[in-house]
Each structure stands twice: as C-alpha cells, then as structure tokens.
Amino acid sequence: MGNMGDYDYLIIGNSAGAVGCIEGLRSMDKNGTVALVAEEEHHVYSRALIPYYLGGQITRNKMYYRPRDFYDRARVSVIKERRAVKIHSAVRMVELDNGSRLGYGKLLLATGGKPVYPPISGLDKQQNVFSFHSMKDVLGIERELPAVRSAVVLGGGVIGLMAAEVLHKRGLDVHVLELADRLLAPVVDETTSHLVEGALQKAGVTLYLNNTIDQVHGTQRVESVTLKDGRSIPCDLLIVGVGVAPRVELAQGTGIEVNRGIVVDKNMQTAVPGIYACGDCASTYNFVTGAGQNLPLWPNAYLGGRIAGFNMAGMERAFVQGTAMNAMHFFDINIINAGINVTGAETPDGLDVIQEYNKDTQTYRKFILSEKGHIKGFILVGQIARAGIFLNLMRRKTDVRAFIKDLFKTDFGYADLPETLRWKLLQDDVILGVV
C-alpha cells in the first residue's frame, strides 16, 4: 500500500471531537483538504445515545449525531474501518494498519477512550459480556436481550447506572455492583448518591455496595458470578461500566507528552507542533482547578475539537470552558453538577460549602465556594431548571456572596443578581434608559 495522499487537515477518530473540529475549521477554511480515519464502519453516531436506543426511546437512525450527508457537505474524505498505527511527525505522515500512508499539514488526535475491563479471573471476552460504549456493544446486547433474565452491571458510575435503568426497563432482574460504599462515588456527594440509591432500590434494582466480582463462571458465556462477599448471582448478561481509559497509543514514540491523557495546551496543541488532541484521549485545561485533566465528557470533547479546528485553521482560540460537568437522570431523578465535588464531612482549606436539602420535594442543592465567593462547584438534584446560569457565574468567577441565599431559590435568575453585575452580564441583551 502506498501513499493515500496529502491533506491539509487529518483527523483520527470519528465522534464528538472530530465533528467539532470539522465544524470549527470549516467555518474558517472552506478550501483546505480534510481527511478522517475511522475504525468503525458506521456513520458518526453518538455514544451518549446508546442508553436511549437500548431503552427504546429512539430508533437506530436517530443515533447518528449528524445528518448522513454531513461529511460530503463538509468535503471530508472519510477512510472507514482503518486504524492509524503510527505517527511519523518528522515527515508529517500517519501510517494506517494496512500499511498505507497519509500526509498531513495539521493533525488532530480524537481517538477517544476504551472501556476498562478489570482483571477478574475467568472474565475473558465471553459472548455475553459488553460495555456501553460502541455500536458493537449495542448490536451484541440486542442480540442477547431476548434470552436474558438476570443482568449484572459491574460499576455504579454514570454509565453503569444508565445501563441498569435501561435493562430494568426492559424487564430484567438487574444487579449493580459497586466497589465503593456508594453509587456515583467520585462524581457527586453522599447526599446525591443516597437519593439515587433510593430511586434505584424503589424501582427494584438490587445494589451491592462495597462489592465486586470475585469470580466468573462459564466458558463461552458467563452463567453466574461470585461476589467478593461470597454471594452468587445468576448472570445472562454482564455489562462492564467501570470507566474509560484514554487511547494514547499513537502518542508513543513521538515527542507528544502523555499524562494519563495526551497533554495539550489551551489551544489544544500537543508538545509536537501541528499535532492537536481533544476529547476522551486528551488531558485538557480545567478552568475550575487550573490544572490539566482528563475530562471525558461530551461537551468538552465537542468544544475541544471545535477550538482545535479553529487553531488548526490559523484562528487562535483558547479552550477555557472545560471542567467536570454532568446532566444525568436515573429513574426520573434529574441531576446536574459541575466543577469541584466536595465529599465527606471535611471541607478542604479555602473552600466553603453551602447546601439545602428538602425532604418533601426530594430536592437538593449544594454549592462549593472559594474564599472570594466564586462558585467552584455545584450539584442540583430534582430541580435543575436554568442550571446554566450557575455554570456561567462559575466561568466568569463571579463573587456570589452578596446574593448567596438566593442561590437556593428554585426560580433563581438574572433578576436576583445585584444591579451592576446583572446589567454587565446582560449588556448585549437589554436596552437600558427609557427612550
């Protein structure tokens, strides 16, 4: 296989970051040539929609993240079912798994992550073990579902719980195993965890906290699992949802710095000029902590890719909007959180925590504030309307001490802000002075 051509822009990966990059660079550069290498055969689909599809809320063709003619209209040459295996950055060339080569002017690594499979004895790639990550999982789970009665979900994080809810709705007995002493442990605080635990138990999902699989029984298929505490559960379907590891293989042997994820600066560029990275494979700037961090969340992937696209096309932009953020719902409990999550009784130095829990309405709000009164993190449970205003105040490092009580109002809005601040934030949105 020889050279497959030279492109001004080359993108490795085919998900949110790749689309963001294409939309960003095409808004700047209409003529540059663009190629994209995709491992899978499918048109770009949204991994985040897997639970909605398996839950029966959407049809298969609604899983596509962009219209079918998206790549044609954006004039992107898509190379499907090929994997990039090596970057020769000195000559700006990428090698594919069939030996063919692609030259690039600017390169984006949007390789995403891969589900983590914990080292459990007997857990090989049996026919009824899946994650909730790819179309392959979707098709496999669909194939298995008709014969499944008892499903085991390993991992009580966001993905595991979404999987649990879907499988429960499909009428299965669902068992969720979580190694920590509560669900959603690193993502939210104890109060939120307990509210979610209550909702799952009420629905009839069985939870096993402080627990994991000790042994898997069955050769071709998992038939049952033995837990750490000795209990045994029948298992017709095993979903592994313990996390996603950044895919950084391509960075090896180049000058690209890796620190869990591929390290990029605020312009999304790696240590090697002309090579950019975004999304689940990258370690990007977290505006709340000021540190580089792996933030594998949809909005960060798309926007990181978009900003990379602007920069690749010669328009300097900084990615300073990224942090931990989630909009989640489990059995009709809506949760939105962002920024730093403070757990336990101890509040870290320099931070202040305010919270309000209403037992009657099952609503909960928590804000983490800095000494200067800046919001560093928040959790809203049950009542999430207009949450973005809090994220905006967080991004703008607004001192909220003057209206701190109002943060708990369920209809909190711009009217609750001090006048000067309010009209500053809305300067392009209102006309002041009677004319």
Binding site: A48, K62, A387, G388, G413, A415, D429, V430, I431
Partner: protein, 145 residues
Amino acid sequence: MGRIKAKPEVCMGCHLCEVWCAVAHSKSKHIIKAFLYEEEKPLPRLVVEEKLPLTFALQCRHCAEPDCVTACISGALSKDPETGRVLHNPNQCVGCYSCVLTCPYGSIFINPRKREVIKCDLCAGLDTLYCVSHCPNGALVYEDC
C-alpha cells in the same frame, strides 16, 4: 442576524409575552382556542424575570458560539449558518438536559410533559415575532446586530 432585546424600565411584568409566545407555538395560533381546545396546552419559550419592581423578559440569545449546541449529545440543537438561528429539532431530542446545564442565560426550558426541551426559535415560519409584536408597552424590540 438580530436579537430580541428587553427594555426593563418599560416592562410592566404583565407576562403577555409568555402568553403570546405559547400561542405562537400552538397548533391553532389562536389565543382562545390554544388554551381551551388544544390537547397539549402550549408552553412559552421565554421567561419574565421578576424582582419587583424590576421585570424583563429573556429568551434564547441565538449565540454566535452557542454552548447548548456544543453540549447537545443527539444533534438536536444546531446553528443555522444562513440565518444565525439556534434551532432545536424535537424529533432528535432525547431530553438529556445537557443544554440546560450549559445555557448561560437559562433560556432552554424543560418541557414538563415529556422528556424534551423547548426554546425560542424566533417564531420560525411565522410572519411576526409574537413576543415583540404583542408587548403592550414596547418593552421588547428586535435589533439587528
């Protein structure tokens, strides 16, 4: 691409913009029929912010770089490059509320009836902006940017 701007000093807080916005998004487009006969009571896509005597109406700003489109996991939200409108396709929306998390204006609303969101579409397909043209005191104006 223009945007609707509020004049807080002349806003009476009558909420008629909310009423007429709901009418604009009803089947009949008729203020009586919409609330009397339609199966699903129409919902407004803007909110009157109140801290009396202060009142002003706020709706989607159709941002140049919309955070809601960034966050949307389904492709339901998009920015029309021709008109500049930020559009929401209810058929594609799964109601994940990522846009509610990211909209800095709190201008994407949760439909209380089903798992989806609703937002201002600048009265797409209609011959007038209902909130602007029905404001009795001229407290909402459309301005080209």
